[in-house]
């Protein structure tokens, strides 16, 4: 069985994932190129590549840390909610992919390779977001709401 990360990794993930995404967006918007020009460097490509790699890896690590960190007390019910959340996320992903592929099939001008790759990347990210949001919502909000 896969071992979960210690609880404090959840906070690290919560900090690192948005930071990685920001770096990646900054690179896409050309901010890194602007910064290199500001400092008088003519070739911005290496810095752009490094920023893209660091940003994407930080984002993926952040998502991984948020999804696979233990709760303060990781008991049987928490494990159960974790499993249910995976099931829900997988179901939503299958529905999204099926609907998306049907829509692509119905299009007169279907998207090319890059568009399809973006679609599948979005499907993967939606899976992780659904899992993280559902799990944390149930464990930290819905259960306490029921208690009231």
């Amino acid at each position: 069985m896969l071992k979960l990360l210690p609880n404090h990794f959840k906070k690290i993930g919560l900090f690192v994932a948005p930071l990685g995404l920001l770096l990646w967006v900054a690179m896409q918007k050309g901010l890194i190129s602007d910064i290199t020009l500001y400092f008088g460097l003519s070739n911005s490509t290496p810095l752009n590549i490094i920023t893209a790699i660091v940003g994407l890896l930080s984002f993926l690590f952040g998502i991984y840390a948020m999804a696979f960190s233990k709760e303060k007390i990781e008991d049987e019910m928490i494990k159960n909610i974790r499993l249910e959340s995976f099931r829900t996320a997988a179901l939503i992903q299958i529905i999204l992919i099926t609907t998306g592929l049907i829509l692509v099939g119905l299009m007169k001008e279907p998207p090319k390779d890059a568009g399809m790759m973006l679609f599948f990347i979005a499907a993967i990210i939606i899976f992780w977001f659904t899992y993280i949001i559902r799990f944390n919502y149930i464990v930290h909000f819905r259960i306490f709401k029921n208690d009231k």
């Binding site: 709760e71 303060k72 007390i73 008991d75 049987e76 019910m77 928490i78 159960n80 464990v139 259960i143 306490f144 029921n146 208690d147």
Partner: protein
């Protein structure tokens, strides 16, 4: 399945947090068991019964729907 965890806990003057600590589970688990939203495993059910010095049947009771 219905249970009398909440009433037994209140009878003994124990908070959800204290019961959770004694059973080494989260407070969320105690809340869910008390509201019958989560059915504990046999091990946890026995631990709960032992905590209240009662039998499992005295704490947990099957409903008609459980036999269907």
């Amino acid at each position: 399945m219905i249970n009398s965890v909440k009433s037994n806990r209140k009878l003994q003057g124990v908070t959800q947090e204290e019961l959770a600590q004694a059973l080494k589970v989260s407070r969320q688990t105690i809340i869910s068991i008390e509201s019958s939203r989560y059915i504990p495993s046999t091990v946890l059910a026995i631990k709960i019964a032992m905590f209240f010095n009662k039998t499992v049947e005295e704490i947990f009771e099957l409903e008609r729907i459980d036999f269907d």
